[in-house]
């Protein structure tokens, strides 16, 4: 039904504020909060008009039914005449570490059930530094195919031509408010003191950068391990290949001898039974790690660019003052 790949999303202020509020109330440190997005598809855009949070998981009520809760919630919203169509979900993130297997799996199931669904990633730390960071992602059709097959072997991924760059596609976001709200925002801006906006100009950087680097390093380590694993796999495969080859040759020679003696050749055995190919390591993990590293790098790059800019600005200011 939906043919266009590109969506423009209209996210009213309400949704953004609700997500932020949700995080402020429940998310701490690297804990992640999640929720459901509601909206509807209009022409080629997906309009997200409302949302509600998933309740926090606790160990005590294991028999809590999430699906039940969601249905209840949507029914209630429908009663008050709010868009109740499920169009995706949102999630907060800690220094941009969201490219994980869990996200992939749930986004896959969403997109599988409701084709237009998106995941909205909210980065509270960046937001706290003065610029709202909200991003919408979808899985690319290629990845959808692979996930549907559930085959993550190196060959399958190669065939599907998937790399970390084309796993996710980012969807541009447009935040559109009603005019009344816009007017009010203007008014608020006028009223607010200059100091309130100075977070943007903070020069302190090492903490954020250090954290990012640390995370990046962890991922690099994982990547390294993954590669080592893959390497051993490759070595095993090649070793086996050799063995197989030798075996076949021996077999052939024997057969030739037998023929010369007039005996019947040895029966053909299933060579694959004799040599069980080693289990190929799933490559999805490394793809995800690569994707994660990519996001980290983007983050750091962005952050550093801003910081450098700020530093130059500060220097200029200093010169000017002197």
């Amino acid at each position: 039904m939906l043919k266009k790949t590109l969506y423009v999303q209209y996210t009213p202020c309400l949704v953004v504020l609700k997500i932020i509020k949700h995080y402020q109330e429940e998310g701490q440190g690297n804990e992640v909060v999640q929720g459901v997005l509601l909206g509807l598809v209009v022409d080629d855009r997906l309009e997200i008009t409302n949302c509600f949070p998933f309740p926090q998981h606790t160990e005590d009520d294991a028999d809590f039914d999430e699906v039940q809760y969601q249905m209840e919630m949507m029914r209630s919203l429908r009663h008050v005449n709010i868009d109740h169509l499920h169009v995706g979900w949102y999630q907060s993130t800690y220094y941009g570490s969201f490219v994980t297997r869990a996200l992939l799996d749930s986004q896959f199931s969403y997109q599988h059930a409701i084709e237009e669904s998106v995941v909205l990633i909210y980065d509270p730390i960046k937001t706290a530094q003065g610029s709202l960071s909200l991003k919408a992602y979808r899985l690319t059709p290629k990845l959808m195919e692979v996930c549907k097959e559930k085959d993550f072997s190196p060959e399958a991924l190669k065939k599907a031509n998937i790399a970390y760059e084309n796993m996710f596609e980012e969807v541009p976001i447009v935040i559109k408010n009603s005019y009344l709200i816009n007017v009010m925002l203007w008014e608020l801006e006028k009223k607010s003191a200059v100091a309130d906006r100075h977070e943007l100009l903070s020069l302190a950087s090492s903490n954020h950068l250090g954290k990012s680097l640390q995370l990046l390093m962890d991922r690099v380590d994982e990547m390294s391990q993954d590669i080592v694993k893959y390497n051993t796999y490759l070595r095993n495969v090649s070793k086996q290949q050799q063995q197989k080859h030798q075996y076949q040759q021996r077999r052939q020679q024997e057969n030739i001898q037998r023929q010369s003696r007039g005996e019947p050749p040895l029966p053909e055995e299933d060579i694959n039974k004799l040599f069980k190919p080693p289990q190929p390591p799933p490559r999805m993990e490394s793809l995800l790690i690569a994707g994660q590293i990519n996001t980290y790098c983007q983050n750091i790059k962005e952050f550093n660019a801003q910081n450098l800019g700020k530093l130059f600005m500060a220097q200029a200011l200093q010169d000017y003052n002197n």
Partner: protein, 931 residues
């Protein structure tokens, strides 16, 4: 029984009480009611009852219920009651030791045994028995047998004439009552003899009275003193006790000898006594049946009237020896026969060589007594063996003209011809070596925390004395090989003992004449704990050493020689003369151990390095390896005492890092590997264990190691906080730190490990005072530091090391905060003097550990700030990791290109790259330094 107590003196009532117990009891159980009644009566009105009565009452009650159970054939109940009885018996031990085994107790043991045997034989009945009872029967039978073994002599005597011996006893008691003052002592004497040396027959007790006064007097005398010392059961008096025991032994031996002389005069009488003795003996061991016919023969060993000649005796001896090792030979009887033969030979003045020859054989058959290699000698046999060897040595010393050698052939022996030199076949050295091994075995098999162990340990002095005497004997005539062997024995008995004498003399020199006594006393106090934890053990050992010294004095031995000089002399001889590698290796190790024990670090270390033992010790047999481990550990502890932390750590690393220190030092088996070895291996391992009194204190060992690791590791950690390639110096220390961190609630430290962990944490922040408080305090003093001979010196060394290392740690950790810091401030902070601080900082600067320079005029340290910041460090780490990643990636590519087996090349590549990375880093540093 209380009725008898109303009148009469104490001793009277005692004897009548036991008489009362046994006499009416003989017919069986029916009168138990009146007894019970009387007890009840007494219970209501009793005022004071002695411990003896209480215990006896307990026992009789139990015995009664056993009898009841026996009557209704309830074996399982019998078993229960018997267990209770056993417990009550051990409780009553103190009383019993004083009074001797009461008749009623022997009776129940004998009856129970009969009863069980009857049940056991009755196959039909056994089949009918229910499962519980059958099980109980077999276990009870076993228990009883085990239990009875200790009282076999008494039981056998009781069995022979249950009534008469009662009377005898009573009679003898009544006799003794005549002299009220001595009666108690006599009573004790009799009982004591019964209990303590069962080879002394009960019959002798009676006889002794009729025999010449002097002997019995003597026996009474010393046993009276014995009972005195035993009656005050204060643990603290072991030393005096020990001396008494030892003296008594000698006296007893003297008495035995005298008796032998007497026997010469009264041959008939002696033979009669011998017979009795024999019977007693026979009753004591299990194989009565085979022994008896032989014994019966014995008085007729030589037909009456035949002239006893050397040839005859030798023939007889060979006859006896031929039975050796055969099935069904009663080994105990054999020993007995041989002893008799010696007496006969002595009687007829057949010459020393013959006596020697027989004695050799006695000792040999004593060793033979235990067919199993793992089993150890019984105490009485052991005493006999020691005595025998001592006699043997005495004879050898008295007759130096006799040639003794193991190479002398049977045919070429000369036992009687006085014209030619006497030649006897036999090897004292082997006997003594075997004796030493038996001693080790006894020590291994005794519970080290029991009084028994202390008792056994007292024999060590005798063992040492024997070895010393043998050594002197062999110095006269032995070959170098033999000398090496006996020297090694001597060394093995010396190396682990701290030489108090030498320390005292040193102390005297140091302290001057005035405080000699005190100083020596203190030194002794402190040092005594080096080897043993248990106080009494320590005392005993001191005592043993004093005894040994005494023995040496007596033997005009080098009594003034320090053990250091002794070791030096013996070991040097071994180094020069030994041709078997093993003895030399052992001697070297013992020598090193001894050096290390006495804090002669450099000599110990040099010897260790020169001997190159570290290279090939893994080829040695396990006991030597254990000795090597012990030596290394001692070396490490020695280095620690000298303040050589690094050396200490290196020496202890191998032992401690495995976590099997206990096993490696031969001080116990690990439970963990129990499944991995079978019973056979376990036995072998058990045989390798070092006796408890030679143990190295494991807690001390671990503490020394951990503290050494702390002093090394904490500054290192501070210096390399951001280094990705940081290596651990001590894994075990890190493990302890992690354990400490994992604790949810951190209380004040309790154990030694917790103390060290807490101290490490304090040191991390450079807080040396807290660190010091954690390392040196009451608890740690008691647990560890006081065990050192020079505890105060060690503590002083520790404080200083802690100050220095804390200073280093502080500089590493907080240098980034300072622009400059005055050395005086540092000196004040760490309570070090200025030159030391200056020295430490200079060293750090030279080693490029600290990027700073010294400003001489103001005595300040100027920081250069060249250490990369946290972010820079992170970036560096990241770069390194990325390098790794790329490397790995390239390997994948290699695979793709089909470069099989490129492993070595890869390795080389990797190595190269790593080096490259390092260089890059260095380059970075330089760059930053310039900037």
């Amino acid at each position: 029984m209380s009725r008898f107590f109303t009148t009469g003196s104490d001793s009277e009532s005692e004897s009548s009480a036991s008489g009362d117990e046994t006499a009416p009891k003989a017919p069986g159980g029916p009168y138990s009611k009146p007894l019970l009644l009387s007890e009840d009566e007494e219970d209501t009105k009793r005022v004071v009852r002695s411990a003896r009565d209480k215990r006896y009452e307990e026992l009789t009650n139990l015995i009664r219920s056993i009898r009841n159970a026996m009557k209704i054939r309830d074996v399982s109940r019998c078993l229960e009651e018997f267990e209770l009885l056993g417990r009550a018996w051990t409780k009553a031990k103190g009383v019993v030791d004083r009074d001797g085994v009461p008749r009623f107790y022997l009776r129940i043991l004998a009856d129970l045994e009969d009863y069980l045997n009857e049940l056991w034989e009755d196959k039909e009945g056994k089949k009918k028995m229910n499962k519980n009872n059958a099980k109980a029967l077999s276990s009870l039978r076993q228990k009883l047998r085990k239990h009875n073994r200790d009282y076999e002599g008494a039981i056998a005597a009781y069995r022979q004439n249950p009534e008469q011996s009662d009377e005898d006893e009573e009679k003898s008691r009544r006799d003794s009552e005549g002299s009220a003052s001595s009666s108690g002592a006599e009573d004790d004497a009799g009982n004591f003899l019964k209990r303590r040396d069962r080879e002394e027959p009960r019959g002798r007790y009676k006889e002794e009275e009729s025999e010449s006064e002097s002997e019995s007097d003597e026996d009474w005398g010393d046993s009276a003193s014995e009972s005195d010392s035993e009656s005050d059961e204060d643990d603290g008096k072991f030393t005096s006790l020990a001396s008494k025991f030892l003296k008594k032994d000698e006296e007893r031996r003297g008495a035995e000898r005298r008796r032998e002389e007497k026997a010469k005069k009264k041959l008939e009488r002696k033979s009669r006594r011998e017979e009795e003795e024999e019977e007693e003996e026979g009753g004591e061991w299990e194989k009565v049946k085979c022994g008896v016919p032989l014994v019966k023969e014995k008085p007729k060993m030589f037909a009456k009237g035949t002239e006893i000649t050397v040839g005859l005796v030798v023939k007889k001896l060979n006859e006896i020896l031929q039975a050796r090792g055969k099935k069904g030979t009663d080994r105990a009887a054999q020993i007995e026969l041989l002893q008799h033969l010696v007496a006969v030979a002595h009687e007829h003045n057949l010459g020393v060589p013959l006596e020697l020859k027989i004695k050799f054989n006695i000792v040999a058959s004593l060793y033979d007594y235990n067919p199993n290699l793992a089993a150890y000698m019984k105490p009485e046999l052991w005493q006999k063996c020691l005595g025998c060897i001592e006699e043997l040595l005495e004879l050898l010393f008295a007759h130096p003209e006799i040639f003794v050698g193991e190479n002398v052939l049977e045919e070429s022996e000369n036992l009687s011809n006085p014209e030619q030199p006497f030649r006897v076949r036999g090897c004292v050295l082997t006997l003594v070596e075997r004796m030493d091994e038996e001693f080790t075995k006894i020590m291994q098999n005794t519970d080290p925390h029991s009084q028994e162990y202390v008792e056994h340990l007292k024999d060590e002095a005798r063992v040492c004395a024997i070895i010393a005497r043998l050594q002197r004997y062999l110095q006269g005539k032995g070959s170098p090989e033999e000398l090496c062997r006996v020297y090694l024995r001597r060394v093995l008995h010396t190396y682990y003992k701290f030489d108090y004498g030498a320390a005292r003399r040193k102390g005297q020199v140091k302290d001057g004449a005035g405080q000699v006594k005190e100083g020596a006393g203190q030194v002794k106090e402190g040092q005594g704990k080096e080897e043993e934890k248990l106080e009494d053990e320590q005392k005993v050992k001191e005592d043993a050493q004093v005894k040994e010294n005494e023995a040496q004095v007596k033997d005009e031995e080098e009594e003034e020689e320090d053990s250091e000089a002794l070791m030096e002399r013996l070991c040097r001889f071994v180094y020069a003369k030994d041709r078997t590698d093993r003895i030399r290796t052992c001697a070297i190790l013992c020598h090193i151990y001894h050096h290390a024990l006495h804090s002669r670090w450099y000599r110990a270390r040099d010897l260790m390095l020169m001997s190159h033992l570290q290279d090939n010790i893994q080829h040695a047999d396990p006991p030597v390896q254990i000795l090597y481990n012990r030596t290394m550990v001692q070396l490490g502890i020695c280095a620690f005492r000298q303040g050589l932390i690094k050396d200490a750590h290196n020496a202890l690393l191998d032992i401690q890092s495995s976590g099997r220190a206990k096993e490696l030092l031969g001080q116990g088996l690990l439970l963990r590997s129990l499944q991995e070895r079978n019973a056979e291996q376990e036995k072998v391992e058990k045989r390798r264990q070092v006796p408890f009194h030679m143990h190295v204190n494991l807690e001390l060992l671990e503490c020394v190691y951990l503290v050494a690791a702390m002093l090394l590791e904490i500054p290192y950690m501070a210096a390399h906080e951001f280094d990705a390639r940081r290596r651990m110096i001590s894994k075990q220390f890190h493990h302890q730190l992690r354990v400490g961190e994992r604790q949810p609630l951190l209380g004040p430290p309790e154990s030694m490990r917790e103390h060290v962990v807490a101290a490490s944490k304090a040191m991390k922040t450079g807080d040396w005072r807290r660190c010091h408080r954690f390392v040196v305090n009451e608890k740690m003093n008691g647990k560890v530091w006081d065990l050192f001979p020079e505890a105060d010196q060690v503590r002083a060394m520790l404080v200083r090391k802690i100050q220095e290392e804390s200073l280093r740690t502080y500089l590493f950790t907080y240098s980034s905060v300072y622009d400059s810091i005055s050395m005086e401030t540092l000196a004040a902070m760490f309570e070090l003097d200025l030159p030391t601080v200056h020295g430490i900082i200079s060293k750090m600067i030279i080693n490029e550990e600290l990027m700073a320079s010294l400003d001489q005029p103001t005595a300040t340290v100027m920081m250069h700030r060249t250490e990369p910041t946290a972010t820079q460090n992170l970036a560096l780490q990241l770069a390194e990791k990325l390098g790794n990643l790329v490397e790995n990636n390239e390997r994948v590519l290699d695979q793709r290109q089909g470069a099989y087996g490129g492993y070595f090349r890869d390795q080389k590549d990797g190595g190269y790259r790593k080096g490259d990375g390092y260089l890059r880093r260095g380059g970075f540093r330089q760059e930053r330094g310039n900037y």
